[in-house]
Every structure is written in structure tokens, then in C-alpha cells.
Amino acid sequence: MVRIELKRRKLLKGAVLVAGAALAGYQIGRLRSPGDPFPGVGPEPDTLVFTRREAALLEHIGRAILPSGAPWPSLRDAEVVQRLDEELLFTDDHTRSEFSLALRGVENLPLLYGYFDRFQHLALDDQRAVMERAEQTRSELIRAATNGVRMAINLVYFGHSATWSAIQYDGPFAQLPQHLSQQRTFYRSLQQEAQP
């Protein structure tokens, strides 16, 4: 009954493992906890679901696929990582683990295209080149991983009010103020509790 899904997960996990093993020696000195990948562009997001490494990777992917420069807000102004972290907190474990797996897939994608490094350690131009290469793939696994991450980033970036003036979107009809759900309020309270 679950054979196909298991096969898919197994393959993706296998690819991740192989890629990880190949990198192990080279990366050993770089596996320490990363610093702020984009210092000076706003505070690093505090996350409840994503690890610091995943959050940094998401920012790298976002930087590679979203428009940049005026009039576009930064990822942090549009709270991309924060909002995805919040959304995933309220999904089931399976969705969270699939997303995490997709992130790991993208992180190790450069190996398939001749780079001897992980995604978040590449230069921006190389990151963009990797995403371009992935677009041409016939592999359903790579499509699933890159589509899933790309769609989620685009959804929350352009769903955020910080981008709306740049796209001439007038927001909710009659400019209704936000009415936060109990879950959104709960996420904020959890974040405050998690503050040192």
C-alpha cells in the first residue's frame, strides 16, 4: 500500500546520503553552527520548526529565486522563513518531514551538477545556476523537492503585505485589518517563551 511512497522517500534519502557522504570530508570543518548568512539585513528569524541551518538554507534559496533590489523587500522584511516556520508548525509530522527532506535535497543538489559544495555555500550566481539546471530535470524527485520549496517561498513572500505595493495589489477588499487566528497568536506566544 505504501510501497511507492516508500520507494520515493528511500530514493531521495539515498541521494541525500550519498551526497552527504561525498561531502563529509570536505565539509567537516564547516559543519559547525552557521552564523547569520545575511548580516545587516534585519534580525535572524527565530524559528520553532526549522533548525538554524535549515533557516539559513531557506534564505539562500529565497535569495536565489526571488527578485532583488528596489522595489522588492528583503526576505526578512517579508518574513519568509518566519511565516513558513509558523505554517509548518501547524501541519502534521509527515508534511514537516517531507519539507525537511526537500530542503536537504536542494542543499545537496549542487553535487549532481558538478559543484563540490552544498547549496548554501555556493556563490549567488552558482546557486542560481543550480536552480536553472534543476528546472530542466526529468527527475520527478528533483521536481518534487525544488517545486515544493520554491512554491512555499513564493507563496509567503508574495502573500506578505510588504510586497504588495511593488505588485500594485491593493490587499484585502475594503482594507480589512488582520484578524489573527488562535494558531497565529499561539505561535507568537511560543516564540516569546522560547526567547532566552
Binding site: 500500500m1 505504501v2 511507492i4 511512497e5 520515493r8 536565489a64 529565486i65 526571488l66 527578485p67 532583488s68 522588492w72 511565516r83 505554517e87 509548518l88 501547524f90 501541519t91 502534521d92 509530522d93 509527515h94 508534511t95 542560481r128 536552480m131 536553472e132 528546472e135 526529468r138 520527478e140 521536481r143 518534487a144 525544488t146 517545486n147 515544493g148 520554491r150 512554491m151 512555499a152 513564493n154 507563496l155 509567503v156 513572500y157 508574495f158 502573500g159 506578505h160 510586497t163 504588495w164 505588485i167 500594485q168 495589489y169 490587499g171 484585502p172 477588499f173 475594503a174 480589512l176 485589518p177 488582520q178 484578524h179 489573527l180 487566528s181 488562535q182 494558531q183 497565529r184 499561539f186
Partner: protein, 517 residues
């Protein structure tokens, strides 16, 4: 407990509840059934896993409302990741975010279901009284000119210039404010979803709706379902609160929707005796194409689809080989987050397109699933649901043709350029670029699609080896267990299924009533 909608805080002290009919799910199927049964004097309780979001809890913010109304927060996909599954997770179910397109089941579908799958007593003559009543009740009428936004106007003109047959979309609205937030929940109560129609009517006749209540497991005594264990959900964390209650009922009806009803029954272990459970799953896979225009289309205001093109609704073949068709074409309405998510563009090109959001508009094709290439709802090892859809050879041909027709439509509408919602950023500047379609990946994840119209998984028919429920909506082998939603459809209903679901629920109500007579 009084008739009405009861939420988590109201159910804290509930441990056991006894009723005549327990309905699992409050969408088009469950709410309509509750109304029909309550009006006949039966004691009815409706269980809804999600929360209750009346207008005062809506804000029409795309992301906020997606979190409130959509199952899996709108992030669930088919197993290949290519098709986003859109379903309700709230009182009123998917009707709260649907477009309100309200079609009667096409005659050729009713014929197919009767002749090929043995469905009895669901022909036009049987359903017509229900359709007539429902159309009056939820104000179904053809979209007037005032509900055509610029995109719809242009779409209608282009279809006429192409000679493609079309129609005004029958839709369920009164006093529409043209906000364009049908998919975020109508704050004005203009869209005739189940929270403003059948549920209030059911409650007026004594029904109770228990929100935040997830059906877990049924216990059986012989051929009878006896008791349902229910988890009370903690709304703020979207997890079970740890508190449970039980419902004892004379009749149980599963109306959890096309994505969930068969999965619920699989979780009860019914798949061992009913090999068709979860199988024959359809979802109207929908391809989308976007175009950039010179003038403002502002597709996000007014109603989503006022005009539909039915020229290609039925598949056409030449000597047994597929020629074209098998889908309904419509204008698409989509707010910026979802639109950007489904655009295949990146970086500066994405910025260039999104910066022209008022001039950016597209179309959607609702594909009638191929009966021989249907999907399947499966249960994962952890008990969760997996939606598998195979994209067979004919399905891929239909999907590709639907994309080609949308490109033709967009250029006839005056688009300067167009892109297909998919993995590859294929840019079309005119019809001269159509040769690119030869390289279009139509399999898993190649096209990015959305599927808000699930069906099947509990197929109706006589043979327990080939179907799950009989024509009386009763699960084969059980005396008091019924299914009342789109999961009973033997194949896709081709068009938006909401009105078909409601009419079928009228039929289910008659059979439930018989058990009490």
C-alpha cells in the same frame, strides 16, 4: 446541549453523546444531509474536525485565511508533489472557500454511472426534484454581466471569436459585493456556502454541530456501527487536546469529503473486505496558464468565473485515437501568493511578471479524469493519507491539449506573452512558439496543478468487489453505515461537484430515513 454550533470550549465536559444520526463532516454532503434529516424530525449531530470561522473571524488576507480554512494549511500535495490538494478544514467544509460554480451533473455522466458502474436510482428523473429545490434554496442563477470582471469579459469575447461554445456559469450568490475573496471565505454572506444555507436550516430544525472534533474510530457489533470515538482538537495548536468523547448513534454517515472519507474507512480496517476502498479516485486535475496583457485585468476582484467554455468538455477521438478535449475552460482567479507559487519563473523574470500583477491574468482547465487512469487514496504506515495519481498516457495527452487550448485562448484575448504553470519556465510570445509543447513534461511535478474537486474512493455500485457503497449510499456489508459526499461518484463528475454532492445527499437522506421507518 442546545441545537447550534459548539466549539472546543463548549465541548470540554462532554464524555458521551447519544443521537439518532451522526454525520462526519460538515461540507456540501454532510450539511445538506443534516438539513434534510433534521427537517424530517431526526436528531442529528454533525462532527467537524476543523474550527468555526464566521464572518467576524475572517479578514480576507490570503495567507491568514488559508491557515484557517484549508486542510493541511493548503500545503498538502499528491505523492509526486505536483498537485496541491485543496479541501476544507472548517465548519462548512470546502464550500466556504469554493467558487460557488453550481452545475447539475451532466446527463452523460449519469448515463455512464448507470450503464457502466451499475448505479441505480440516480438518474435525471430521480435527481431533478433535488436539483430544483437546491437551485431555489441556494439562489443558483447564471452570472449576470455585472459579475464579469475584465478578465471574464475578455475571456468571453475571445471564446466567441474563436467559435468556442461557452455559457454563463451558474453560481450560488446573492448580493455579491465583488470582493474577489471567494477562496478566502465570503465575509458578506453573499456566497451561498453551507454556513449560511443548510447548516443554519439544520440547526433551526434541531441539529447540533460539534466543531474541533476529529472522528477517530468506529466500533462495530456485527453488521452495525455502534460507537464513534472522537478526539477533541485543540484549536490553537491544531493537535488533539488529549480529551475524547464518544458518540452512539443509530446511523453513522461518513461525509468527510473526497479526500478524506475513503481514508477514514481505510483507517477502520474496512479495506480488507472492500478492495475498491480508496480506489477509482478522481480530482479534476487543473492545468493553469498565465498571460501578460497591455491593460489592467485585475482578475482578483469580482467573482472568479462568470463564463465557462464547454466546447472541449467531452473527449473527442478519431478512429480510437485521442484528438482533443476532455476539460472545461474558465478564467482563473488567484491572489498574489498562490499566483506566484504557481508561476514557473524565478529571480528578475519573476519580478518582471509580478510587478505587472494588475495586467497578469490566466485561465484554468478542469480536466475530466480518465476512468481507466484514476488515482488512489492510500493509508500510510503511520495511518496518514497518501494521494497517488498515476498520470496515465491518455491523461497526459489531455493535460497537454488543455494547455495548448489555454495558450490559444490567451493569445486570442490579447496576451503579449504567456507561461504555463509548471516546473519549466517555457515562455510563449505567440502561437508560433507552440512547438515548445513537445518538450512539456506532463508527468508528476512537470505541471503544477491544484485539485479542489476530489471524487471516488467509495465508488457506488452493486458489486462489493468493485464498489464500496450500494445505490442506497450504504457501505456494503453494514446495516447503518452510509457515505454521502463526492467519494461515492464512480468517476469524476467532470464539473464542479458541489451541486451534484448536494443532490446526491438528498438521495442519501431518503435511504437513511428508510432505516427509521
Amino acid at each position: 446541549m442546545k441545537p447550534g454550533i459548539h466549539e472546543q470550549q463548549d465541548l470540554q465536559t462532554l464524555h458521551a453523546y447519544t443521537t439518532q444520526v451522526c454525520i462526519i463532516g460538515s461540507g456540501c454532503g454532510g450539511a445538506t444531509l443534516a438539513q434534510q434529516l433534521a427537517k424530517k424530525g431526526l436528531d442529528v449531530v454533525v462532527l467537524e474536525r476543523g474550527g468555526y470561522y464566521p464572518p467576524e473571524k475572517m479578514d480576507q488576507n490570503e495567507l491568514n485565511m488559508q491557515g484557517k480554512l484549508y486542510g493541511g494549511r493548503g500545503l498538502d500535495t499528491t505523492s509526486d508533489g505536483g498537485n496541491t490538494l485543496l479541501y476544507g478544514n472548517n465548519v462548512g467544509g470546502a464550500s466556504v472557500h469554493y467558487w460557488a460554480d453550481s452545475y447539475r451533473t451532466p446527463q452523460y455522466k449519469l448515463d455512464e454511472w448507470q450503464e457502466q458502474y451499475g448505479v441505480r436510482n440516480h438518474q435525471t428523473r430521480d435527481l431533478e426534484p433535488a436539483f430544483d429545490a437546491l437551485e431555489r434554496e441556494i439562489s443558483i442563477h447564471e452570472a449576470p454581466d455585472s459579475l464579469f470582471n475584465p478578465l471574464n469579459q475578455r475571456f468571453r469575447q475571445a471564446s466567441q471569436s474563436l467559435g468556442w461554445h461557452g455559457h454563463r456559469v451558474p453560481q450560488a450568490r446573492t448580493h455579491c459585493q465583488k470582493s474577489g475573496h471567494c477562496m478566502q471565505g465570503c465575509i458578506y454572506g453573499a456566497k451561498q456556502d453551507q454556513t449560511v444555507t443548510h447548516l443554519p436550516d439544520a440547526i433551526e430544525h434541531g441539529a447540533r454541530v460539534f466543531a474541533d472534533s476529529r472522528a477517530e474510530s468506529l466500533s462495530f457489533e456485527g453488521r452495525r456501527a455502534k460507537r464513534l470515538r472522537v478526539s477533541l482538537m485543540d484549536r490553537k495548536s491544531n493537535r488533539p487536546s488529549g480529551q475524547e468523547y464518544t458518540v452512539e448513534a443509530d446511523v453513522f454517515v461518513v461525509a468527510a469529503g473526497g479526500f478524506s472519507s475513503s481514508h477514514f474507512l481505510l483507517r477502520q480496517g474496512l479495506g480488507d473486505d472492500l478492495p475498491a476502498l480508496g480506489r477509482h479516485f478522481s480530482m479534476n486535475p487543473s492545468t493553469m496558464v498565465y498571460g501578460l496583457f497591455e491593460e489592467d485585468m485585475r482578475q482578483w476582484r469580482n467573482i472568479p468565473a462568470a463564463w465557462g467554455v464547454d466546447e472541449f468538455l467531452q473527449r473527442q477521438e478519431d478512429e480510437g485515437r485521442y484528438r482533443e478535449g476532455g476539460y472545461l475552460l474558465m478564467p482563473n482567479q488567484i491572489h498574489p501568493g498562490a499566483l506566484a507559487a504557481t508561476l514557473p519563473l524565478k529571480g528578475e523574470q519573476l519580478g518582471e511578471w509580478m510587478a505587472q500583477f494588475p495586467q497578469l491574468a490566466g485561465t484554468i482547465a478542469w480536466m475530466d479524469d480518465i476512468p481507466e487512469e484514476l488515482g488512489e487514496i492510500r493509508m500510510r504506515r503511520d495511518g496518514g493519507r497518501q494521494v497517488h495519481y498515476p498520470y496515465g498516457a491518455l491523461t497526459r495527452q489531455v493535460l497537454k491539449d488543455s494547455v495548448a487550448k489555454q495558450l490559444e485562448m490567451l493569445f486570442a484575448m490579447g496576451a503579449r506573452k504567456a507561461v504555463i504553470s509548471g516546473h519549466q519556465a517555457m515562455m510563449f510570445n505567440s502561437m508560433d512558439d507552440m512547438a515548445q509543447l513537445d518538450d512539456l513534461a506532463t508527468g508528476g511535478g512537470g505541471l503544477i496543478m491544484a485539485s479542489p474537486h476530489p471524487g471516488g474512493g467509495c465508488r457506488m455500485g452493486d458489486d462489493p468487489a468493485q464498489s464500496v457503497v450500494g445505490s442506497d449510499h450504504r457501505v456494503h456489508g453494514y446495516d447503518n453505515l452510509f457515505v454521502s459526499d463526492s467519494s461515492v461518484f464512480p468517476t469524476s463528475s467532470a464539473l464542479d461537484p458541489s451541486l451534484s454532492i448536494m443532490a446526491f445527499s438528498h438521495m442519501a437522506a431518503n435511504h437513511v430515513l428508510e432505516t427509521f421507518s
